[in-house]
Subunit: 336 residues, 2 copies
DNA sequence: CGCTTCGATCAAAGCGCTTCGATTTTCGAC
DNA sequence: GTCGAAAATCGAAGCGCTTTGATCGAAGCG
């Protein structure tokens, strides 16, 4: 069986030099239209695809992008980051790049857990999704590997995140439009910047329309942002007298926990208590009642991050915009 | 800043030729121990890591392994294949290989959805996890790209799967040990070979000990293997009179659905009805009551598949064993 | 003591591509 | 027609590594 065709096979078949074939394959340089067609036709006929190794060697780029994710985020059952990854993969495909997924444990030991591409220089840049140990980010910076964060923020590194503020505001507006004036907030995971933004925008918007949220109705639990934490801390809002008539939760997991707690207490949703979340996870639409929430376009998050990174790689890395927002969208279901 | 060190920097620093450095870095050829040490020390001191592109070009291997997964399997909330992937990644790391994850939609259109590495020759081999469209497998075969299936079977291609038979037998033995003689089976997804193996081993074992399962108590739903299907079809077993005292479900999702249905009917688990599943998903231990099930070591599945593939690549591909089993383990919890 | 053997090392020839500078062609303006 | 500039094409020099065949000593042998 004939071995895989090379650039010179194509050159020969289309009667041009390999330089010209290279120019055509990369869409560079001035090439006569007729020549271009001829080369492309020959390449197609021969089933030619440039060798990534050779290309990488000659052009001193790898064409690979690293995608780093905390291991527990990757294997958690809510496929949030999985979808961010899919978005990145999709965008990478459009740009002819490959994505190398690498998970890092938490806590992270830089000596033992460093992703291989860090030492092996096998990527041109890295997308970091979600919170990771700062040591890793410092390592990236120290080796001057360009990176973009998705759904996280660190120092003044370029970041892509959901538009948490407008999402928080949208929930407040919705509550007000439904006639609520006495509303609360349930949050968790104080370390992550996103919940804080959601909270501040929400509280700010309520205050603006003359219904400030009293401190007692703002609960930020000290645990992870999950359903159990939500259920556990719900009491701090539900067992109070007076009780808020609507609660905004920093994310859907907490909101689902709050629904559990409300159901245990025999509260009718949304009549006794309106509940809104954030993220629009798969389970939100299946909840009883279906959860009103702010949708984050997870794939778009990944797409955008990878796109910015790729753009930055072909130009001045310093020019990656420091902060990019992906729009959010209020999805009104039965819970509020 | 000095650019990245190359093999000749190491050669110079350790006063040998680059050939020798190459031999050392690859652990090949006869090299004096003193020389080896000297080279390794120099490499370490300079922070040298071989360029993958150069290596790939010269050795005409890429050092990449493709990992193919159906998109819906990847983004489903139960992280089964995610963990298979992690296992593969882990093994790849040990062997100095990279894994390129590629999802394919279902249905699969070979013209539009073919993973890029298929045409770009950017992998040395492929691990296919779970069921995928046969067209893809045919494409792989046609291009003579070696591949290993994980948790699936097709034609006579090399396969790694959980030891479904001994798992099914273990459940039967456990039921019998608990004194059950009138037992049932609930399955779904008739296309996948694994459930069938579990069922056959289970039914066979029950028959052997003199308690054959009547046809009426063997239900195989025509839908996907998920919780809803389980709950929906549970009635076929639970509303029968007489009713079995124990039911083995082809996987945990179905078992959880069966638990839902049992709880709706007010049946006490395990006193009125004992239930066992298969897989040991994350939710199994959290179910009410915690689910007795057969554990599949998902990471081992991926590790094994990648390992076999890698071995095959360095030798005769034809010699990959056609069928490899990963042990399963009965985990007894409260439901049976 | 000369000759073979074998272990250790090396020089050089690529692998398939990009890219730079050089060369050839084309074409409008005169 | 002729000339110069711009457009199109090309040759050749690497990119950093692997691998083959050759070289070179030192040890073993009769």
């Amino acid at each position: 069986m004939a071995s895989r065709p090379t650039i010179s096979d194509v050159a020969e078949a289309s009667r041009v030099s390999i330089s010209t074939v290279s120019l055509v394959m990369n869409g560079k340089g001035p090439v006569a239209d007729a020549t271009r067609q001829r080369v492309l036709a020959a390449a197609d006929r021969l089933g030619y695809a440039p060798s990534r190794s050779a290309r990488g060697l000659a052009a001193r780029r790898t064409g690979n992008i690293g995608f780093v994710l905390r291991e527990d985020h990757f294997r958690q059952s809510e496929p949030f980051y999985t979808r961010v990854f899919l978005g990145a993969e999709f965008e990478a495909r459009r740009r002819g790049l490959y994505v190398l997924l690498s998970t890092v444990p938490d806590p992270y030991d830089p000596a033992r857990h460093a992703p291989r591409f860090l030492t092996e220089h096998s990527v041109d840049g890295v997308v970091v999704a979600g919170g990771v140990d700062a040591t890793l980010l410092e390592q990236l910076r120290a080796r001057s590997i360009p990176f973009v964060l998705a759904d996280y923020a660190w120092d003044d590194s370029p970041t892509v995140s959901a538009d948490n503020r407008s999402g928080g505001r949208a929930v407040a507006d919705h509550f007000v439009a439904q006639g609520h004036t006495r509303v609360g907030y349930l949050g968790a995971d104080p370390e992550h910047p996103s919940p804080a933004e959601r909270r501040d925008a929400y509280l700010g918007a309520m205050a603006e329309v003359g219904h400030p949220v009293p401190d007692g109705w703002v609960v930020t639990a000290d645990g992870p942002s999950d359903r159990q934490t939500g259920a556990l801390n719900a009491g701090l809002l539900l067992d109070r007298a007076p009780r808020p008539t609507a609660v905004f939760c920093a994310n859907d997991a907490l909101a689902l926990g709050l629904l559990d707690a409300a159901s245990e207490r025999g509260l009718a949703i949304p009549d006794d208590l309106a509940v809104a979340g954030f993220d629009d996870v798969d389970g939100a639409a299946l909840a009883k009642p279906p959860l009103t929430t702010v949708r984050i376009h997870k794939e778009t998050l990944g797409e955008t991050a990878l796109g910015l990174l790729a753009e930055g790689l072909t130009g001045a890395v310093e020019e990656i915009p420091p902060r990019t927002l992906v729009p959010t969208e209020l999805v009104v279901r039965a819970s509020a």
